[in-house]
Amino acid sequence: MGLVESGKLPKPLAKLLNISRKYSIWAYQWGLACCAIEMGAAFASPRYDVMRLGVIPFPASPRQADLVVIAGTVTDKLAPAVVRLYEQMPDPKYVISMGSCANCGGPYWDSYSVTKGVDQLIPVDVYVPGCPPRPEALLEGIILLQERIAHEDMAERWKGEPIVVG
């Protein structure tokens, strides 16, 4: 992978790599609240069948995952665990924030214990709105993420510079 790190990857090869990355996303399910059930419906039920999109939804640990779906309310007490989980994932890593609570606090926007948006803690690639979003909406979010991966400059992504939030 020396070519990638030096940023001299030939374009067709980069495209090929991107396509293969795009269709082999290992998604870690971080189900927190109501959205977890809809995520379960999208990932584990025969009706929605996420695997046809090339997503493998059952990694045993975040250390094997490319994508984490933050599905549900993040509270201030839970926030350190979210950050730790994100730090455990290997680069390149992607985050989908699912549902209003993870996006911005949602119905708990004025609560004393809820973090108003997971993007205060970790960088988010795709926001899926809804309370909770339907499984189809999550699948749409995954497709959007795949488009993003397909057009990504891997050299930029793999430089290893920290992503600054905000």
Binding site: C34, I37, S45, R47, T75, P107, Y108, Y112
Partner: protein
């Protein structure tokens, strides 16, 4: 029917047996096991800190609060209709059932009664949300004990009920369909027929799951005789719902103290109990409850009266001064709202008595002396929803 003849002595005996099983005389170096806050076998983020002696649990302390969202404070700054939308999300699997006791408490204070048709539809949707909730439990409990198939079946057949709830209320998960004085809308055309079909599917699902899971030898080995809760202990911890009935206490708020506004007395159904009080009994009672719920729905569908679905209430809802506690038998157990009103647009104080909070507070008691894999059985069979514990 109470299975325990002398509850006091049985509880004492059970506690003594547990103390004997934990071999405290044989000194081994203890180990602390941390489960969670993220664990595949929990819904949401419950964290359990277990102190182990070899394979046995000496103490298990659940750490809650990772999903504490402050409902009770938020209700003090929201109007009654807004609260209705908020409290859907406490027990997110049986959302409609969360609304009903709150609406009934507000109606009680306002002295309003929903028209008969609304009462019928409320009861039907209440039971449907019970099916949506418990069918996922049945699948998920199988998943936790290593039988993945059951989970897929549950997710597949649960969609039948969710479709019905969605076509009537517009919300797959959080209907927000109840109003003070009735319902938002009438049923859509053709809904009754399609509900009959859905209930038939669900009854078939129960049979399928009984063959697949409950009759399974491994499943029985992992649940029978595990996590026994005597009736008296269950009562003093405030366990309710199927957890209490599995300990042999024949008590169901739908039958015994049904608040006016729900029409369970118009259907012919049965309250199931089990004398054993173990994990298997809890699963079995829930399986029967799903069947009964489908039967209740099928009977009520045939007898829905005609008429309006909304009583005449003012557009701006001000609830008169007073205090009221209304509890209903929710999928997880007794859920009640203690509403204190000062005659304002917003309630003065709402105490939410959620079932899982009491149900899970028994974990330190029941997990003592259990083996580590049994901890999963116990937690799974007590069946909690994190939002219902932490609120």
């Amino acid at each position: 029917m109470t299975a325990v003849s002398d509850p006091q002595s049985v509880a004492a005996l059970a506690a003594e047996a547990v103390d004997n099983r934990v071999n405290l005389d044989f000194e081994t170096e203890g180990m602390t096991l941390n489960m969670g806050p993220q664990h595949p076998a929990t819904h949401g983020t419950l964290r359990i800190i277990a102190r182990l002696d070899g394979e046995q649990v000496i103490s298990a302390e659940p750490m809650c609060g990772y999903m504490h969202r402050g409902y009770e404070k938020l209700t003090e700054v929201r109007t009654y209709p807004q609260i209705n939308a908020l409290i859907n999300r406490i027990d997110w699997l049986g959302s409609f059932a969360n609304e009903v006791p709150f609406i009934l408490a507000a109606e009680k204070l306002m002295d309003v009664e929903a028209p008969p048709r609304a009462q019928w539809i409320r009861t039907i949707l209440f039971e449907m949300s019970r099916i949506a909730n418990i069918s996922l439990f049945l699948g998920d409990f199988g998943l936790q004990l290593g039988g993945m198939t059951a989970g897929f079946y549950a997710f597949r057949d649960r969609e039948w009920v969710l479709n019905q709830i969605e076509s009537a209320t517009g919300g797959r998960f959080h209907p927000n369909f109840d109003r003070i004085g009735g319902l938002k809308d009438d049923l859509p055309k053709g809904w009754i027929d399609s509900s009959h079909t859905a209930m038939d599917k669900l009854l078939a699902f129960c049979d399928e799951l009984e063959d697949l899971l409950v009759g399974n030898e491994i499943f029985q080995a992992r649940t029978r005789g595990i996590g026994v809760i005597p009736a008296e202990t269950a009562l003093s911890y405030g366990l309710s719902g199927a957890n209490l009935r599995a300990s042999g206490v024949d008590w169901d708020l739908r039958r015994d103290n049904c608040p006016p506004g729900l029409v369970y007395d118009k259907a012919d159904w049965k309250v199931w109990t089990h004398p054993d009080g173990d994990c298997f009994a809890r699963t079995w009672v829930r399986l029967q409850e799903t069947r009964e719920a489908a039967k209740i729905v099928k009977q009520l569908l045939d007898t829905i009266p005609s008429g309006p679905v909304m009583a005449k209430v003012p557009r701006i809802i001000k609830v008169p001064e007073g205090e009221a506690y209304v509890a209903t038998e929710n999928p997880l157990g007794e859920m009640g709202y203690y509403v204190v009103s000062k005659g304002d647009l917003v309630p003065f104080r709402v105490k939410i008595r959620s079932a899982s909070f009491n149900n899970i507070s028994i974990v330190p008691w029941v997990a003592r002396g259990a083996y580590v894999p049994d901890l999963i059985s116990i937690l799974g069979s007590l069946y909690f929803i994190l939002g219902d514990i932490d609120r």
